[in-house]
Amino acid sequence: MTPDTRPAAPQPHAPAESQDTAPGYAAAQAAYDAAQQDTTMVQCLAPDGSVVREDLLPEPETRLELYRQMRRARHFDERGWVLYRQGRLGVFPPFGGMEASQVGTAAALTKDDWLFPTYRDTGAALTLGLPIARTLAYWRTSPHGWHMPADLKVLPFYIPIATQYPQAVGAALAERRQGTRNVAMAFIGDGGSSEGDFHEALNFAGALNAPCVFILQNNGWAISVPTRAQTRATDLSRRADGYGIPGVRVDGNDALATYHVTREAVERARSGGGPTLIETVTYRVKPHTVADDPSRYRSEADTASWDAKDPVTRLRTHLLNAGLMTEAREAELLAEIAAEFEAALAEADSYPEPTPAEILDHVFAEPTPQLKKQRAEILAEHAAPNQKEQA
């Protein structure tokens, strides 16, 4: 072929940024910060708590309830650290600093809706009503942590990344086929959005018009890998365009903004308008899990800048400034939250340990002959385990 030497036609969209080396980690934070300036990011409160979009403010009671839920979540996270250090809770992934992203979104649901959380979304699950005791039980790996209350459609935390997304589409579609107005909400991380399941789910939801709300929590990190190394894209909400569905980018540290955009998405889904992708822009100020040491892959300076954006402080300042909450009322609230938590902890402490043969329960509705035989093997080996313990 003869080379064509004529001038190039302009690219229809997304012109190439010439980049001769693979992205290095040094650039990660800078690129990420630049993306924060994105003017399309929906925001209701500025980091200092001042109102930037009066028109988006939810009702006062809603704002107070969002604050209460964020405080409950933060309390769980803070007490969790202590309990972990005391050996009273297993390794868990903290989410402190991401409360607006989890609470503001989940608060837009009712108990008839589905919630598909990842391991990091305790804040979302608690908001929709998952009992604290069960959540503690999960991180203690007690079977009680997996058996969800009958009146809730909150699924147990998803461990294999991204697998919850197609499942949420199925639950949403099933609601629609059964004639309800219920929706399904699924969470995923910036890292998780690289998995194929993310793509397949968004496309299915669009094609089948499933009433799904997809929350993509962009917290800047997937364990040690910064978002910038995860993808060349700087605005993950634009992925929605590729499926013909709405995409929204929201300040993930602003609970009023996350609540607002999620409510819109939920309403659209309920009324037959189909799915929405919401990217909540936030930050994992904490380590990946309580056992992780982030100094192996990032500097303290990375996280420091996010302290000024703390979602709990932001809403607190607004509520105090707006005269919606007094410090005295707040103190009461915190006391209530602490009492609720300690009661839940006591309940979790009371859950019995599983017995050996329980590992073979609940494989099928009716155990197969093979399972019956294996159960007998276990019982023979671990005769009367409860008596042993008592002895």
Binding site: V169, N203, A365, Q370
Partner: protein
């Protein structure tokens, strides 16, 4: 087309059908009986499936009950899991068993674990149908037999019928089962065989093997597309005065160990036939169970007649070298007799 007899024990009305027609009939009955049943997959709606197993069902039950999905197997299974969670009974078709692979994460990570993880708060009454196996010169990578992978996955059942009536009866049992069931359909058998199939809601229980022929000398254990192969070998052996007991497993999980052990206790010889690759196939599980539970009865090695440790050959001229044929089974029967 060979015609076989009416299924043993059934006394009601019957109709002569191919396996694919029997499957279509079962799906039709399930859709009519229960609004929760939903059928979906690639090309199952308007076109009625590449093998026509869902032919006419969308026209009869509408685009909501029988529908085409985008081309993505992980999402087909993942969506089905979500539908099950929310109370439906999804019946998904995967176009060929070899295209289940993109969905294995959903299957291994969730389909088999959901009841266990949630201590029965949730269970997944989902059926996944897929044509499997070779013998009909399908294109490259369209003849895989991945049943061992599913059988090794706790929490899912695996059913593989070998006749039209069994296909119908087992499929209706699968759809009515409270737990996930894989239903593999031998492509080779879709239209090659007709038999009288009971009309109406006919069920064959999951977990019970079928005694195809009785005999005192050798037990041949097989399922799906290998049953007719074993039957031919048994017929040839009968000519030579060797009594072969052919056992059609019907379901791999749960496996009907009792029927196998009883037969081997009688014959003292076992030949196992599948078309999957040799190493670590489901045939190996059958052999292991016999070696664990019936060793004292064995008068000869347990012989496996299987595919080989190579991919199913994309070269159709030599495809039949890979897939066990009656001669190879007959040779194995002689081998255990002569031992």
């Amino acid at each position: 087309m060979t015609a076989t007899a009416t299924p043993t024990g059934h006394t009601g009305a019957t109709k002569t059908m191919t396996m694919v027609a029997a499957i279509n009939d079962a799906l039709d009955i399930a859709l009519a009986a229960d609004d929760a049943v939903h059928i979906f997959g690639e090309d199952v709606g308007v076109m009625g499936g590449v093998f026509r197993a869902t032919d006419g069902l969308q026209a009869r039950y509408g685009e909501e009950r029988v529908f085409d999905t985008p081309l993505a197997e992980a999402a087909i299974v993942g969506m089905g899991i979500g539908m099950s969670l929310a109370g439906l009974k999804p019946v998904a078709e995967i176009q060929f068993a070899g295209f289940l692979y993109p969905a294995l994460d959903q299957i291994l990570s969730h389909l088999g674990r959901y009841r266990h993880r949630t201590r029965s708060r949730y269970h997944l009454p989902m059926v996944i149908r897929a044509p499997y196996g070779g013998g009909v010169h399908t294109p490259e990578q369209h003849a895989d037999s991945p049943e061992a992978i599913l059988a090794h996955t706790p929490g899912v059942k695996v059913v593989i019928p070998s006749t039209p009536a069994d296909a119908k009866g087992l499929l209706l049992s699968a759809i009515n089962d409270p737990d996930p069931v894989f239903f593999f359909e031998a492509i080779k058998l879709y239209r090659s065989m007709k038999e009288d199939v009971p009309t109406g809601d006919y069920r064959v229980p999951i977990g019970k093997a079928r005694m195809v022929t009785e005999g005192d000398d050798v037990t041949v254990i097989c399922y799906g597309g290998m049953v007719e192969v074993a039957q031919k070998a048994a017929a040839a052996a009968a000519q030579a005065g060797i009594g072969v007991e052919v056992i059609d497993l019907r379901t791999l999980v749960p496996m009907d160990t009792d029927t196998i052990i009883t037969s081997v206790a009688k014959t003292g010889r076992a030949v196992i036939v599948t078309e999957a690759p040799r190493t670590a196939g489901f045939h190996s599980e059958i052999a292991a169970v016999i070696a664990e539970e019936a060793i004292e009865h064995l008068r000869a090695p347990i012989v496996r007649v299987t595919g080989f440790d190579a991919p199913y050959p994309p070269f159709t001229a030599v495809e039949d070298v890979y897939r066990p044929n009656p001669l190879r089974v007959a040779k194995a029967i002689r081998q255990v007799m002569d031992y």
